[in-house]
Protein backbone atom coordinates (compact mmCIF):
# COMPACT_ATOMS: atom_id res chain seq x y z
CA UNK A 1 0.00 0.00 0.00
CA UNK A 2 2.00 2.92 -1.24
CA UNK A 3 -0.60 5.55 -0.47
CA UNK A 4 -0.35 5.14 3.32
CA UNK A 5 0.83 8.47 4.71
CA UNK A 6 0.49 7.85 8.45
CA UNK A 7 1.07 4.41 9.90
CA UNK A 8 1.11 3.28 13.54
CA UNK A 9 2.28 -0.23 14.33
CA UNK A 10 2.01 -1.74 17.83
CA UNK A 11 2.64 1.59 19.60
CA UNK A 12 3.06 1.42 23.39
CA UNK A 13 3.18 4.40 25.66
CA UNK A 14 2.93 4.83 29.40
CA UNK A 15 3.02 7.78 31.76
CA UNK A 16 4.96 6.35 34.69
CA UNK A 17 2.97 3.33 35.86
CA UNK A 18 -0.07 4.01 33.72
CA UNK A 19 -0.16 2.44 30.26
CA UNK A 20 -2.05 4.72 27.93
CA UNK A 21 -1.34 3.07 24.59
CA UNK A 22 -1.11 -0.70 24.63
CA UNK A 23 -0.25 -1.66 21.10
CA UNK A 24 -2.03 0.76 18.79
CA UNK A 25 -2.04 -0.07 15.09
CA UNK A 26 -3.77 1.78 12.27
CA UNK A 27 -3.10 3.31 8.86
CA UNK A 28 -4.22 6.51 7.23
CA UNK A 29 -4.18 6.81 3.45
CA UNK A 30 -3.30 9.95 1.57
CA UNK A 31 -6.33 12.22 1.34
CA UNK A 32 -8.26 10.14 3.84
CA UNK A 33 -10.27 11.65 6.70
CA UNK A 34 -10.04 9.51 9.81
CA UNK A 35 -11.97 10.07 13.02
CA UNK A 36 -10.74 8.62 16.28
CA UNK A 37 -13.48 8.18 18.84
CA UNK A 38 -13.59 6.70 22.31
CA UNK A 39 -14.13 7.50 25.93
CA UNK A 40 -11.84 9.94 27.71
CA UNK A 41 -8.77 8.08 28.90
CA UNK A 42 -8.95 5.64 25.99
CA UNK A 43 -5.68 7.05 24.66
CA UNK A 44 -7.03 8.76 21.55
CA UNK A 45 -5.48 12.18 22.20
CA UNK A 46 -2.18 10.62 23.22
CA UNK A 47 -2.08 8.62 19.99
CA UNK A 48 -2.69 11.82 18.03
CA UNK A 49 0.03 13.72 19.90
CA UNK A 50 2.51 10.90 19.19
CA UNK A 51 2.02 11.47 15.47
CA UNK A 52 3.69 14.92 15.53
CA UNK A 53 6.16 14.02 18.24
CA UNK A 54 4.59 15.98 21.11
CA UNK A 55 4.55 12.74 23.07
CA UNK A 56 7.33 10.18 22.95
CA UNK A 57 6.36 6.51 22.86
CA UNK A 58 8.21 3.54 24.32
CA UNK A 59 7.91 0.91 21.60
CA UNK A 60 6.39 0.27 18.23
CA UNK A 61 6.64 2.24 15.02
CA UNK A 62 5.12 5.42 13.70
CA UNK A 63 5.79 6.51 10.15
CA UNK A 64 4.53 9.84 8.85
CA UNK A 65 5.13 10.84 5.24
CA UNK A 66 8.52 9.14 5.12
CA UNK A 67 9.58 10.15 8.64
CA UNK A 68 10.30 7.42 11.16
CA UNK A 69 9.28 8.66 14.61
CA UNK A 70 10.97 5.79 16.42
CA UNK A 71 14.29 7.18 15.20
CA UNK A 72 15.75 9.29 18.00
CA UNK A 73 17.82 11.37 15.59
CA UNK A 74 14.68 12.38 13.69
CA UNK A 75 14.51 16.09 12.84
CA UNK A 76 11.22 16.89 14.57
CA UNK A 77 11.07 20.35 13.02
CA UNK A 78 11.16 18.89 9.51
CA UNK A 79 8.32 16.54 10.49
CA UNK A 80 6.27 19.35 12.01
CA UNK A 81 6.49 21.39 8.82
CA UNK A 82 4.45 18.56 7.26
CA UNK A 83 2.07 17.86 10.14
CA UNK A 84 -0.25 20.57 11.45
CA UNK A 85 -2.15 20.25 14.72
CA UNK A 86 -5.11 22.15 16.14
CA UNK A 87 -5.76 21.93 19.88
CA UNK A 88 -8.87 21.89 22.02
CA UNK A 89 -7.86 25.14 23.74
CA UNK A 90 -6.87 26.99 20.50
CA UNK A 91 -3.49 28.03 22.00
CA UNK A 92 -3.26 31.20 19.97
CA UNK A 93 -0.41 33.49 20.96
CA UNK A 94 -2.11 36.24 22.98
CA UNK A 95 0.47 38.94 22.27
CA UNK A 96 0.14 38.65 18.47
CA UNK A 97 -2.67 39.73 16.16
CA UNK A 98 -4.51 37.22 14.00
CA UNK A 99 -2.11 37.92 11.14
CA UNK A 100 0.86 37.81 13.55
CA UNK A 101 -0.22 34.38 14.74
CA UNK A 102 -0.59 33.05 11.22
CA UNK A 103 2.57 34.58 9.77
CA UNK A 104 4.91 33.61 12.60
CA UNK A 105 5.73 30.06 11.50
CA UNK A 106 5.91 30.57 7.72
CA UNK A 107 8.27 33.46 8.35
CA UNK A 108 10.47 31.78 10.95
CA UNK A 109 10.29 28.07 10.21
CA UNK A 110 9.88 28.17 6.43
CA UNK A 111 11.83 31.40 5.93
CA UNK A 112 9.34 32.76 3.41
CA UNK A 113 9.68 36.38 2.34
CA UNK A 114 7.34 38.96 3.93
CA UNK A 115 5.28 39.27 0.74
CA UNK A 116 4.96 35.50 0.30
CA UNK A 117 4.05 35.16 3.97
CA UNK A 118 1.39 37.84 3.74
CA UNK A 119 -0.15 36.34 0.58
CA UNK A 120 -0.28 32.94 2.23
CA UNK A 121 -1.74 34.33 5.44
CA UNK A 122 -4.50 36.18 3.62
CA UNK A 123 -5.29 33.06 1.58
CA UNK A 124 -5.74 30.80 4.63
CA UNK A 125 -7.56 33.51 6.53
CA UNK A 126 -9.96 33.73 3.62
CA UNK A 127 -10.44 29.97 3.74
CA UNK A 128 -11.66 30.18 7.34
CA UNK A 129 -13.70 33.30 6.55
CA UNK A 130 -12.01 35.73 8.92
CA UNK A 131 -10.32 38.23 6.62
CA UNK A 132 -12.06 41.07 8.44
CA UNK A 133 -10.46 40.04 11.76
CA UNK A 134 -6.89 40.12 10.51
CA UNK A 135 -5.75 42.86 12.88
CA UNK A 136 -7.67 41.68 15.93
CA UNK A 137 -6.04 40.14 18.95
CA UNK A 138 -7.15 36.67 20.12
CA UNK A 139 -8.94 38.01 23.19
CA UNK A 140 -11.18 40.09 20.91
CA UNK A 141 -12.49 36.98 19.16
CA UNK A 142 -15.13 34.43 20.13
CA UNK A 143 -14.00 30.88 20.86
CA UNK A 144 -15.19 29.72 17.47
CA UNK A 145 -13.32 32.48 15.69
CA UNK A 146 -10.17 31.76 17.70
CA UNK A 147 -10.35 28.13 16.71
CA UNK A 148 -10.78 29.07 13.04
CA UNK A 149 -7.68 31.26 13.33
CA UNK A 150 -5.83 28.33 14.89
CA UNK A 151 -6.83 26.19 11.91
CA UNK A 152 -5.64 28.92 9.53
CA UNK A 153 -2.37 29.15 11.44
CA UNK A 154 -1.76 25.44 10.84
CA UNK A 155 -2.84 25.62 7.23
CA UNK A 156 -0.35 28.40 6.55
CA UNK A 157 2.42 25.83 6.96
CA UNK A 158 0.86 23.99 3.99
CA UNK A 159 0.98 20.66 5.81
CA UNK A 160 0.36 17.29 4.19
CA UNK A 161 -1.44 15.97 7.27
CA UNK A 162 -3.68 17.86 9.70
CA UNK A 163 -4.40 16.65 13.22
CA UNK A 164 -7.43 17.91 15.17
CA UNK A 165 -7.47 17.24 18.90
CA UNK A 166 -11.06 17.63 20.14
CA UNK A 167 -11.17 21.05 18.56
CA UNK A 168 -14.82 21.75 19.33
CA UNK A 169 -14.95 20.39 22.88
CA UNK A 170 -14.29 23.76 24.53
CA UNK A 171 -16.90 25.57 22.41
CA UNK A 172 -20.53 26.43 23.12
CA UNK A 173 -22.92 24.46 20.87
CA UNK A 174 -23.77 27.49 18.73
CA UNK A 175 -20.06 28.13 18.02
CA UNK A 176 -19.24 24.50 17.16
CA UNK A 177 -21.00 24.68 13.81
CA UNK A 178 -18.78 27.40 12.31
CA UNK A 179 -15.65 25.41 13.17
CA UNK A 180 -17.06 22.11 11.93
CA UNK A 181 -18.05 23.77 8.64
CA UNK A 182 -14.45 24.89 8.12
CA UNK A 183 -13.13 21.41 8.84
CA UNK A 184 -15.70 19.83 6.55
CA UNK A 185 -14.73 22.11 3.69
CA UNK A 186 -11.11 21.19 4.30
CA UNK A 187 -12.01 17.48 4.22
CA UNK A 188 -13.65 18.02 0.85
CA UNK A 189 -10.46 19.60 -0.50
CA UNK A 190 -8.51 16.34 -0.28
CA UNK A 191 -6.43 17.15 2.83
CA UNK A 192 -5.34 14.15 4.90
CA UNK A 193 -6.89 14.61 8.31
CA UNK A 194 -7.02 12.77 11.60
CA UNK A 195 -9.63 14.02 14.03
CA UNK A 196 -10.09 13.10 17.65
CA UNK A 197 -13.70 14.05 18.20
CA UNK A 198 -16.86 13.63 20.22
CA UNK A 199 -19.10 14.84 17.41
CA UNK A 200 -20.60 11.55 16.22
CA UNK A 201 -22.79 12.99 13.50
CA UNK A 202 -19.90 14.99 12.15
CA UNK A 203 -17.61 11.94 12.21
CA UNK A 204 -20.21 9.94 10.36
CA UNK A 205 -20.57 12.67 7.74
CA UNK A 206 -16.93 13.41 6.92
CA UNK A 207 -14.86 10.34 7.76
CA UNK A 208 -13.67 7.76 5.31
CA UNK A 209 -12.58 5.71 8.31
CA UNK A 210 -13.61 5.60 11.95
CA UNK A 211 -11.33 4.23 14.64
CA UNK A 212 -12.81 3.32 18.00
CA UNK A 213 -10.23 3.24 20.76
CA UNK A 214 -10.86 1.50 24.04
CA UNK A 215 -8.44 0.98 26.92
CA UNK A 216 -5.37 1.90 24.88
CA UNK A 217 -5.99 -0.20 21.80
CA UNK A 218 -7.90 0.13 18.53
CA UNK A 219 -10.95 -1.85 19.51
CA UNK A 220 -12.83 -1.58 16.25
CA UNK A 221 -12.30 0.25 12.97
CA UNK A 222 -13.99 0.55 9.62
CA UNK A 223 -16.01 2.92 7.50
CA UNK A 224 -18.43 5.27 9.23
CA UNK A 225 -20.87 2.42 8.81
CA UNK A 226 -19.57 0.97 12.10
CA UNK A 227 -21.25 3.83 13.94
CA UNK A 228 -24.59 2.58 12.70
CA UNK A 229 -23.77 -1.12 12.99
CA UNK A 230 -21.19 -1.52 15.77
CA UNK A 231 -19.50 -4.89 15.86
CA UNK A 232 -18.48 -4.96 19.51
CA UNK A 233 -20.49 -4.44 22.70
CA UNK A 234 -18.12 -1.65 23.79
CA UNK A 235 -18.80 0.37 20.65
CA UNK A 236 -22.50 -0.31 20.96
CA UNK A 237 -22.39 1.13 24.44
CA UNK A 238 -20.20 4.07 23.41
CA UNK A 239 -22.40 5.03 20.46
CA UNK A 240 -25.46 4.64 22.66
CA UNK A 241 -24.11 7.01 25.27
CA UNK A 242 -23.08 9.64 22.69
CA UNK A 243 -26.32 10.05 20.79
Amino acid sequence: MSDVIVGLKDVWKSFGEVSVLRGVTFDVAKGQVVSIIGKSGSGKSTALRCINGLEAFQSGEIAVDGFNLADETLDLRALRKKVGIVFQSYNLFPHLTVLGNIELAPKLAKRLSPTETRELALKVLGEVGLLDKRDHYPEQLSGGQQQRVAIARSLAMEPTVMLFDEVTSALDPELKEEVLRVIERLAGSGMTMILVTHEMNFARRVSGKVIFMHQGVVHEQGTSEILSNPGTPELVQFVGSNL
Partner: protein, 225 residues
Amino acid sequence: MNIDFGPVFARSGFLIDGLLLTLQFSLTAIVTGFVAGTLIAVGSRSKTRLLSLVCQGYVEAIRNTPLLVQLLVVYFGLSSVGLKFPVFFVVILAMTINNAAYTAEIMRAGLDSIAKSQIEAAKSLALSPWQVFSRVMLPPAIERVYRSLSSQFVLMMLSSSITSQISAEELMAAGNFIQSETFRPFETYIVLAVLYLILSLLFRGLFWAFGQVAFPRRRRLGTSL
Protein backbone atom coordinates in the same frame (compact mmCIF):
# COMPACT_ATOMS: atom_id res chain seq x y z
CA MET B 1 19.51 79.82 60.35
CA ASN B 2 20.02 81.06 56.84
CA ILE B 3 19.28 79.07 53.75
CA ASP B 4 21.15 79.93 50.59
CA PHE B 5 21.14 77.76 47.51
CA GLY B 6 23.45 80.15 45.64
CA PRO B 7 26.77 78.40 46.40
CA VAL B 8 25.26 75.06 45.37
CA PHE B 9 23.87 76.34 42.09
CA ALA B 10 27.19 78.06 41.38
CA ARG B 11 28.69 74.57 41.14
CA SER B 12 25.95 73.07 38.98
CA GLY B 13 28.55 71.91 36.45
CA PHE B 14 29.57 69.15 38.88
CA LEU B 15 25.95 68.19 39.33
CA ILE B 16 25.39 67.91 35.60
CA ASP B 17 28.50 65.76 35.13
CA GLY B 18 27.44 63.58 38.05
CA LEU B 19 23.92 63.28 36.71
CA LEU B 20 25.18 62.17 33.30
CA LEU B 21 27.36 59.50 34.93
CA THR B 22 24.40 58.30 37.03
CA LEU B 23 22.39 58.00 33.81
CA GLN B 24 25.20 56.05 32.15
CA PHE B 25 25.56 53.69 35.11
CA SER B 26 21.84 53.08 35.33
CA LEU B 27 21.07 52.63 31.64
CA THR B 28 24.05 50.32 31.14
CA ALA B 29 23.21 48.22 34.18
CA ILE B 30 19.57 47.99 33.13
CA VAL B 31 20.59 46.43 29.82
CA THR B 32 23.34 44.17 31.18
CA GLY B 33 21.34 43.25 34.27
CA PHE B 34 18.27 42.41 32.19
CA VAL B 35 20.21 40.18 29.81
CA ALA B 36 22.11 38.44 32.62
CA GLY B 37 18.98 38.20 34.77
CA THR B 38 16.96 36.63 31.97
CA LEU B 39 19.70 34.06 31.34
CA ILE B 40 19.76 33.25 35.07
CA ALA B 41 15.97 32.97 35.11
CA VAL B 42 16.19 30.48 32.24
CA GLY B 43 18.97 28.64 34.06
CA SER B 44 17.01 28.42 37.28
CA ARG B 45 14.09 26.86 35.36
CA SER B 46 16.42 24.34 33.71
CA LYS B 47 15.87 20.62 34.12
CA THR B 48 19.60 20.23 34.68
CA ARG B 49 19.54 20.18 38.46
CA LEU B 50 23.04 21.51 39.00
CA LEU B 51 22.51 24.52 36.72
CA SER B 52 19.18 25.29 38.35
CA LEU B 53 20.68 25.07 41.85
CA VAL B 54 23.61 27.31 40.94
CA CYS B 55 21.28 29.93 39.46
CA GLN B 56 18.90 29.84 42.42
CA GLY B 57 21.82 29.99 44.84
CA TYR B 58 23.16 33.03 43.04
CA VAL B 59 19.82 34.82 43.27
CA GLU B 60 19.49 34.03 46.99
CA ALA B 61 23.07 35.09 47.75
CA ILE B 62 22.68 38.45 46.04
CA ARG B 63 19.16 39.22 47.22
CA ASN B 64 20.12 38.60 50.83
CA THR B 65 23.22 40.82 51.00
CA PRO B 66 23.49 44.62 50.63
CA LEU B 67 24.59 46.23 47.38
CA LEU B 68 27.20 48.23 49.30
CA VAL B 69 28.90 45.04 50.52
CA GLN B 70 28.72 43.54 47.02
CA LEU B 71 30.33 46.68 45.71
CA LEU B 72 33.12 46.49 48.29
CA VAL B 73 33.73 42.80 47.56
CA VAL B 74 34.01 43.45 43.83
CA TYR B 75 36.05 46.64 44.22
CA PHE B 76 38.55 45.35 46.76
CA GLY B 77 38.30 41.75 45.63
CA LEU B 78 39.45 42.58 42.12
CA SER B 79 42.28 44.80 43.32
CA SER B 80 43.44 42.33 45.99
CA VAL B 81 44.10 39.74 43.29
CA GLY B 82 46.03 42.39 41.38
CA LEU B 83 43.38 43.28 38.81
CA LYS B 84 43.12 47.01 38.16
CA PHE B 85 39.99 48.12 36.41
CA PRO B 86 38.57 51.59 35.87
CA VAL B 87 35.92 52.56 38.42
CA PHE B 88 33.29 52.64 35.65
CA PHE B 89 33.88 48.97 34.96
CA VAL B 90 33.78 48.01 38.66
CA VAL B 91 30.54 49.89 39.16
CA ILE B 92 28.87 48.34 36.10
CA LEU B 93 30.05 44.88 37.16
CA ALA B 94 28.70 45.22 40.71
CA MET B 95 25.42 46.81 39.59
CA THR B 96 24.95 44.12 36.94
CA ILE B 97 25.58 41.37 39.50
CA ASN B 98 23.01 42.97 41.78
CA ASN B 99 20.39 43.89 39.19
CA ALA B 100 20.64 40.49 37.50
CA ALA B 101 19.55 38.69 40.67
CA TYR B 102 16.42 40.82 41.12
CA THR B 103 15.62 40.74 37.41
CA ALA B 104 16.08 36.96 37.39
CA GLU B 105 13.51 36.60 40.15
CA ILE B 106 11.02 38.77 38.25
CA MET B 107 11.65 37.17 34.86
CA ARG B 108 11.35 33.73 36.36
CA ALA B 109 7.84 34.54 37.53
CA GLY B 110 7.07 35.86 34.05
CA LEU B 111 8.39 32.77 32.28
CA ASP B 112 6.60 30.49 34.76
CA SER B 113 3.34 32.18 33.76
CA ILE B 114 3.59 30.95 30.16
CA ALA B 115 1.31 27.95 29.75
CA LYS B 116 2.80 24.69 28.55
CA SER B 117 0.16 24.59 25.82
CA GLN B 118 1.62 27.78 24.30
CA ILE B 119 5.00 26.10 24.01
CA GLU B 120 3.46 22.97 22.50
CA ALA B 121 1.63 25.06 19.92
CA ALA B 122 4.84 26.85 18.99
CA LYS B 123 6.82 23.59 18.74
CA SER B 124 4.08 22.08 16.59
CA LEU B 125 4.54 24.97 14.16
CA ALA B 126 8.13 23.78 13.60
CA LEU B 127 9.72 26.70 15.46
CA SER B 128 13.23 26.11 16.77
CA PRO B 129 13.83 26.15 20.55
CA TRP B 130 15.28 29.65 20.29
CA GLN B 131 12.32 30.87 18.24
CA VAL B 132 9.89 29.34 20.74
CA PHE B 133 11.67 31.17 23.55
CA SER B 134 12.22 34.53 21.87
CA ARG B 135 8.91 34.82 20.00
CA VAL B 136 6.36 32.95 22.07
CA MET B 137 7.62 32.86 25.67
CA LEU B 138 9.65 36.01 26.18
CA PRO B 139 7.33 38.76 24.85
CA PRO B 140 4.25 37.86 26.94
CA ALA B 141 6.48 37.05 29.93
CA ILE B 142 8.01 40.54 29.81
CA GLU B 143 4.61 42.14 29.28
CA ARG B 144 3.21 40.43 32.37
CA VAL B 145 6.04 41.51 34.69
CA TYR B 146 6.74 44.87 33.08
CA ARG B 147 5.53 46.85 36.09
CA SER B 148 7.79 44.95 38.48
CA LEU B 149 10.69 45.32 36.08
CA SER B 150 10.17 49.08 35.82
CA SER B 151 10.04 49.47 39.62
CA GLN B 152 13.18 47.39 39.99
CA PHE B 153 15.03 49.51 37.42
CA VAL B 154 14.01 52.76 39.16
CA LEU B 155 15.17 51.36 42.51
CA MET B 156 18.42 50.35 40.89
CA MET B 157 18.96 53.83 39.46
CA LEU B 158 18.45 55.31 42.93
CA SER B 159 20.75 52.77 44.55
CA SER B 160 23.51 53.68 42.08
CA SER B 161 24.10 56.55 44.54
CA ILE B 162 25.84 53.95 46.71
CA THR B 163 28.69 53.80 44.20
CA SER B 164 29.81 57.19 45.54
CA GLN B 165 31.24 55.13 48.38
CA ILE B 166 33.94 53.69 46.11
CA SER B 167 34.66 57.12 44.63
CA ALA B 168 32.65 56.84 41.45
CA GLU B 169 31.98 60.46 40.55
CA GLU B 170 28.25 60.17 39.93
CA LEU B 171 25.52 62.49 41.15
CA MET B 172 25.75 61.60 44.85
CA ALA B 173 29.52 62.03 44.86
CA ALA B 174 29.16 65.38 43.10
CA GLY B 175 26.85 66.44 45.92
CA ASN B 176 29.29 65.26 48.58
CA PHE B 177 32.02 67.26 46.89
CA ILE B 178 29.91 70.42 46.71
CA GLN B 179 28.91 69.94 50.34
CA SER B 180 32.55 69.74 51.39
CA GLU B 181 33.33 72.94 49.48
CA THR B 182 30.32 75.02 50.46
CA PHE B 183 29.56 73.68 53.96
CA ARG B 184 25.92 73.85 52.96
CA PRO B 185 24.78 70.24 53.49
CA PHE B 186 21.07 71.00 53.79
CA GLU B 187 20.87 72.94 50.53
CA THR B 188 23.14 70.48 48.71
CA TYR B 189 21.20 67.37 49.64
CA ILE B 190 17.84 69.04 49.00
CA VAL B 191 19.06 69.79 45.48
CA LEU B 192 20.27 66.19 45.16
CA ALA B 193 16.92 64.89 46.37
CA VAL B 194 15.11 66.99 43.77
CA LEU B 195 17.46 65.83 41.00
CA TYR B 196 17.00 62.16 41.92
CA LEU B 197 13.27 62.68 42.10
CA ILE B 198 13.31 64.15 38.60
CA LEU B 199 15.43 61.20 37.42
CA SER B 200 13.03 58.67 38.89
CA LEU B 201 10.02 60.41 37.34
CA LEU B 202 11.93 60.57 34.06
CA PHE B 203 12.67 56.84 34.23
CA ARG B 204 9.04 56.05 35.00
CA GLY B 205 8.03 58.14 32.00
CA LEU B 206 10.57 56.42 29.78
CA PHE B 207 9.41 52.95 30.85
CA TRP B 208 5.81 53.93 30.23
CA ALA B 209 6.68 55.19 26.75
CA PHE B 210 8.73 52.11 25.99
CA GLY B 211 5.84 49.93 27.13
CA GLN B 212 3.50 51.76 24.77
CA VAL B 213 5.81 50.94 21.86
CA ALA B 214 6.79 47.43 22.93
CA PHE B 215 3.31 46.14 23.82
CA PRO B 216 0.95 47.14 21.01
CA ARG B 217 -1.70 44.75 22.28
CA ARG B 218 -1.90 46.46 25.64
CA ARG B 219 -1.80 49.89 24.04
CA ARG B 220 -4.74 49.05 21.79
CA LEU B 221 -6.89 47.03 24.15
CA GLY B 222 -5.84 48.42 27.53
CA THR B 223 -6.17 44.97 29.08
CA SER B 224 -3.44 42.99 30.78
CA LEU B 225 -2.32 39.58 29.60
